[in-house]
């Protein structure tokens, strides 16, 4: 899967870079997420899937690859085209290779039910995308916490 990761914060790939799969269809949100990672000082290789189908394809590739190439964290928008984030999350938790991989669900939804559903499907954290910049950058800390 390493060829699907593009380097993000810190420039060139290093052994310490965290492999993150980001499933997000909104360009502005992808930009903000990259920025949050940079602000947090997280060195990472970021693979971006623009829809649920692409996310599942990248995960399949990762499953077929050596474990050292698998994503260490998944950032998952719930509202994805083609295959929605809920289905991707359910697949992740059913797949042995990723059953323990931290998943942070990203959403614009303020419905408590959506949060409950995401946690029931196995998300480790739920980040409601705020509209203001400073609050959005708190995602960096959420990611760092999920990585442990």
């Amino acid at each position: 899967m390493s060829q699907d990761f593009t380097s993000s914060a810190g420039g060139a790939t290093t052994p310490q870079a965290v492999r993150i799969l980001l499933a997000e269809d909104n360009d502005a949100d992808v930009f903000l997420i990259r920025r949050a990672l940079e602000k947090q000082g997280l060195r990472c290789q970021l693979a971006v899937a623009r829809n649920g189908e692409e996310a599942l394809r990248l995960l399949q590739t990762a499953e077929d690859s050596p474990p050292m190439d698998a994503p260490q964290l998944i950032l998952l928008d719930l509202n994805l085209p083609r295959v929605d984030g809920g289905e991707v999350l359910a697949h992740v938790r059913k797949t042995q290779a990723f059953s323990e991989t931290p998943v942070i669900v990203l959403t614009s939804s303020d419905s408590p039910r959506d949060r409950e559903l995401a946690m029931r499907l196995g998300a480790n954290a739920y980040f409601r995308k705020p509209t203001d910049l400073r609050s959005f950058m708190e995602l960096g800390q959420v990611i760092e916490n999920a990585l442990g």
């Binding site: 909104n26 360009d27 502005a28 949100d29 903000l32 509202n79 614009s108 939804s109 303020d110 419905s111 408590p112 039910r113 995308k129 705020p130 509209t131 203001d132 910049l133 400073r134 959005f136």
Partner: protein, 230 residues
């Protein structure tokens, strides 16, 4: 609200919200990048852009809550302890309550059969209004409940009152209280003009009625009924 319209509304709110987030955060980034090099008139324009964007976000949040209130198939009914519901509503308004120095009193509220999240939204919205439209001298809100005879002879309802001692609303304005996006105040008091309408829809979805009693300078009491669980 039909399922098709509900899905359309939820989808539209989501997509508009995503783009609005792009506008807001880009404007804020521009502000931080340009910093002090911005001439005053350009800074004023950027601040106006950010303020308008924030307003769009507030309107979308209101529309989202309205859609959820109207979408009764989405309600999940179970026994709900209303003291816990009001506790949750006050937690959601913690900052507003603290800044206003508001005193919210309630005790011995009953259990009802209802959707917990919507009931939290009901009380949150009523308390938010009471705090926003408080008078200079009082930010006190009292919540009470009693049993009354329902519309049919054998029915028993709970009658709730949420009473504040704030600005109140004159009789001449009360007709438009439940009209969407109709506000009596300008931007000096934040709001969208959906709060009471949302509250009424939530209560009606629970089989109850909501009305208000108020006058200028005399505070406002929101009354609503909810059926007693069988």
């Amino acid at each position: 609200m039909g399922e098709e319209v509900y899905r359309l509304l939820v989808g539209a709110v989501h997509d508009i919200r995503s783009e609005e987030r792009g506008v807001m955060t880009s404007a804020q980034l521009l502000e931080s990048i340009l910093g002090d090099s911005l001439p005053p008139d350009a800074r004023a324009l950027l601040e106006r852009l950010i303020a308008s964007s924030a307003r769009v976000s507030t309107i979308l949040a209101g529309v989202s809550r309205y859609a959820a209130a109207l979408h009764s198939p989405g309600y999940s009914f179970r026994k709900v302890n209303l003291t816990c519901v009001v506790d949750a509503a006050t937690v959601a308004l913690e900052q507003e309550i603290r800044e206003a120095g508001a005193a919210i009193s309630y005790s011995g509220l009953p259990e009802v059969w209802g959707d917990r999240d919507q009931l939290v939204e009901l009380f949150r919205s009523l308390l938010d209004n009471a705090i926003k439209y408080r008078s200079a001298s009082s930010a006190k809100v009292e919540i009470e409940a009693q049993q009354v005879t329902g519309r049919k002879q054998d029915d028993v309802d709970f009658l709730f009152s949420v009473r504040d001692y704030g600005m109140g609303i004159g009789q001449q304005h009360q007709r438009s209280l439940f009209c969407p996006f109709r506000r009596l105040h300008g931007p000096e008091i934040p709001g969208v003009g959906l709060g009471l309408l949302i509250c009424r829809k939530i209560v009606e979805a629970h089989g109850g009625r909501l009305w208000i009693e108020s006058d200028t300078g005399c505070g406002l009491t929101a009354f609503f009924t909810l059926p007693v669980p069988a």
